[in-house]
């Protein structure tokens, strides 16, 4: 574009030019800060400050009550690698994450596909599947305890009626699977997110693929799933973060209370956050426990970055309205026509 082609300056009528912004518009900047300030204050006071404070504590030998603590450098971080309980708890957390995250996504997406179909009572099914996700976890844990209690639980009662050997469900090692079941009980949350994703996929794409010969499975795997992949990535990342930080299910399924609540959690449910909690409030090792949490924070950051990196090619981002989706539909139909082989 040359200067000659530049548009002429638009001249506003004098009365419009003279009119200064009125009302709140005069204070756009101030209004912006006024609206974001509650969040900003909350972020600084409830996130940034505790993070910084915990970081500082992680370099000290503070015990929670004594004012005469001192700087210990990286000793607390080095202790993590010498602490067999920390490593054990990290292993159990990894196992819990590896099981619950894929299971929740697969079950949640499968349920979403089911309740996305035009079946009678669809709304009721959606509500039923989602309901456990809104039940407070304390109530869920209570129900699970009542179900699995060895003396009074429903399951052992049934076993008794069937003349089968009764089982200690809430003790090691079975209690781990009870915790997994309790976690997956709230899979309705994942279902709702996947359902929202499914409903965002234009129906005509599926129709087009079917017209071109794709069966339901191929239409799902070649159209729905790619278009759902950003949602699945979101579920993976939030699921991994939540699982690594899991604490309440393990604590609630442990029956002890008081000073031994955390340390009497069965070994198979001894998750990393349980260990950190025990170090803080049972052992009074505030410095070390803060180092554990900072190490966990760094681990989560690294894992998230790795997931983003690894998933880069698998996640299908729409580049423009309908373009990518149409490309996916075309690809699905093409693969169907060529027996699943993509011609390039």
């Amino acid at each position: 574009m040359t200067t000659a082609e530049a548009p002429a300056t638009i001249r506003l009528p004098a009365d419009v030019q003279a009119a200064a912004p009125r009302g709140w518009k005069r204070y756009r900047a101030r209004t912006f800060y006024a609206f974001v300030s509650p969040w900003l204050a909350g972020f600084i006071l409830l996130t940034l400050f505790p993070l910084g404070y915990a970081l500082w504590l992680s370099f000290t030998n503070f015990d929670g009550m004594t004012g005469h603590y001192r700087y210990v450098g990286l000793d607390n971080y080095a202790d993590i690698f010498r602490d067999p309980d920390a490593l054990h708890s990290l292993g159990r957390t990894a196992l819990y994450t590896v099981i619950t995250v894929p299971a929740a996504i697969i079950i949640g997406t499968a349920l979403a596909v089911l309740v996305n179909r035009p079946v009678r009572g669809r709304a009721a099914f959606r509500a039923i599947f989602y309901l456990p996700a809104v039940v407070p976890i304390v109530a869920s844990a209570l129900c699970f305890k009542m179900l699995f209690d060895s003396d009074f639980g429903l399951l052992n009662h049934i076993f008794n009626q069937l003349h089968l050997q009764t089982i200690q469900w809430l003790a090691d090692p079975l209690v781990f699977w009870v915790m997994i079941a309790m976690t997956l009980w709230g899979v309705g949350g994942t279902m709702i997110i996947s359902l929202a994703g499914l409903q965002g996929i234009p129906g005509e794409l599926i129709e087009a693929a079917k017209v071109d010969g794709a069966n339901a499975w191929r239409a799902f795997t070649r159209i729905s799933l790619p278009l759902l992949s950003p949602i699945i990535l979101f579920e993976v990342i939030t699921g991994v973060i939540a699982s690594i930080q899991a604490f309440i299910p393990a604590l609630l399924l442990s029956i002890q209370s008081g000073t031994v609540a955390a340390t009497s959690v069965p070994q198979s449910n001894y998750l990393f956050m349980i260990h950190a909690y025990a170090q803080y409030f049972d052992y009074g090792r505030f410095g070390y426990a803060s180092a554990l949490l900072w190490a966990l924070f760094i681990l989560i950051l690294v894992l998230t970055a790795v997931i983003f990196k690894v998933s880069g090619r698998a996640v299908f981002y729409e580049s423009g309205p309908d373009e990518a989706a149409q490309a996916a539909a075309g690809q699905a139909a093409g693969e169907q026509a060529t027996g699943g082989k993509v011609e390039r």
Partner: protein
């Protein structure tokens, strides 16, 4: 009048509303000039009636309760605004608090008091004294609201009856081995499902207190002379750990790795638990469960070693932090709560023995079970013993390390020696650090 709100008017209105709300809030506090913050169990231990009586006596003091929680307490101390009165266990925590310079020395207050004088205070309250090296000597830092000799047992005679087993003699102590043997004979179970547990041993108040009591009875100590190290590998301590493993192996009652979901009391009152290791205070629970009152028996503490011991595991009471802003008001509450009507009401309820000796006369003995319990308790006083705790580590760490070791031991089949090593390895670095912190 203009129908539009200007910003100025809006702000002025908001400011006025805030002022009115603040004024209303002040009026709503009952007109008190001072707010006394208590970290305690309200209304179960400090009742509404206790609060009402205090407010009548001191109308200018308003009482605010905060949840009894170590997390909250730590946060309040970190913020420099601790509660004015804090609930705690005198047996385990007095040396710890004093060494950290957290508790107010109450000697001057006691010296001035006409309500809480030395001649009225029970011997057990000495666990709230510490002179910097010996617990039981030096200034007082708190008082017990009530106490029990917590290694004693309550027996459900119906469980014994069903098993055809003679219940224990109320005043002759069983050995721990005998107690385990009795428990085996009265336990009824099918697979993992119990219709009657034999024993809930005396570890519920504090796991470490239960173990330390056993070790003391056997003539040992888990701590060295200056409380800077533990040695659970010593023969007396190792045999106490071994007893717990044997008890778990016998499957006669709940353990840390397999606790009772509904708690010991519920099982006891449902005639599904034969012996429960609780002190006199459990009589208060029995009072609320009339269905068992005709078949309960209170018996003396079992004896682990050669020495007969029957300690108080907790002596739960309250202390005043050194940094409290309202020490005088807190002390006024102390006098009211520990020495006046609330203390009499507590004694009458049977929920523990009073910290004021004269109030022993108020203990309930109307019903046969109450009389039996009181007779046994009166005989037990002469066997009262004191547990020793280190000032360098919180008792929660002792409880936690023992429970963690037991869970590992029971789930992985570890020996008592290995458990001892685990506890030593956990606690000794903490003790070393604690010593450095309070030096």
């Amino acid at each position: 009048m203009s129908g539009r709100f200007s910003r100025r008017r809006l702000l002025a209105g908001a400011a006025t509303a805030a002022g009115v709300a603040a004024a209303a809030s002040a009026c709503g506090s009952g007109g008190g000039n001072t707010t006394l913050t208590i970290m305690g169990n309200h209304p179960s231990e400090i009742t509404d009636s206790d609060v009402a009586g205090f407010s009548k006596k001191y109308p200018n003091v308003k009482i605010k309760f905060v949840t009894n929680s170590v997390q909250l307490l730590t946060a309040m101390f970190a913020a420099g605004d601790p509660p004015d009165i804090i609930r705690d266990q005198g047996v385990q925590n007095t040396p710890y608090l004093v060494k950290r310079d957290l508790a107010e020395d109450l000697a001057p207050y006691f010296a001035r008091s006409t309500v809480l004088t030395d001649d009225k205070i029970a011997a057990v309250d000495d666990v709230w004294r510490y002179d910097g090296s010996v617990q039981g000597k030096g200034p007082r830092y708190g008082l017990a609201k009530d106490y029990s000799q917590d290694a004693m047992l309550w027996c459900n005679l119906r469980v014994f009856e069903k098993a055809g087993v003679e219940p224990p003699d109320p005043t002759k102590p069983m050995s721990y081995e005998e107690m385990l043997d009795v428990a085996k004979r009265i336990t009824r179970r099918k697979g993992a499902q119990y219709s009657a547990y034999g024993l809930y041993p005396p570890f519920d108040v504090s796991l470490s207190a239960g173990v330390i009591n056993m070790v003391t009875s056997a003539g040992g100590s888990v701590f060295n002379d200056d409380y800077t190290k533990v040695d659970f590998s010593a023969p007396e301590a190792k045999s106490a750990l071994q007893w717990y493993l044997d008890y778990a192996d016998a499957q006669v009652g709940p353990t840390v790795a397999r606790p009772l979901a509904a708690g010991a009391a519920a099982a006891f009152f449902a005639d599904q638990l034969g012996m429960v290791g609780y002190g006199y205070w459990f009589g208060g629970e029995v009072a609320s469960n009339p269905q068992v009152q005709d078949h309960v028996r209170f018996v003396t503490a079992p004896q682990f070693g050669s020495t007969r011991t029957s300690p108080c595991f907790a002596a739960v009471g309250h202390w005043i932090p050194k940094t409290s802003q309202h020490k005088q008001e807190a002390w006024n509450f102390f006098e009211w709560y520990f020495g006046e009507q609330p203390a009499i009401d507590r004694a009458k309820s049977g929920w523990g023995l009073p910290g004021i000796t004269a109030m022993n006369a108020d203990l309930p003995e109307v019903k046969p079970y109450q009389k039996q319990a009181l007779d046994v308790q009166n005989a037990e006083f002469s066997h009262m013993s004191v547990l020793k705790y280190s000032p360098y580590v919180a008792f929660t760490a002792l409880d936690a390390s023992l429970s963690q070791a037991f869970v590992k031991g029971l789930e992985s089949g570890l020996s008592a020696g290995r458990l001892a090593d685990l506890v030593n390895d956990t606690l000794n670095p903490l003790l070393e650090q604690g010593k450095e912190l309070v030096a």
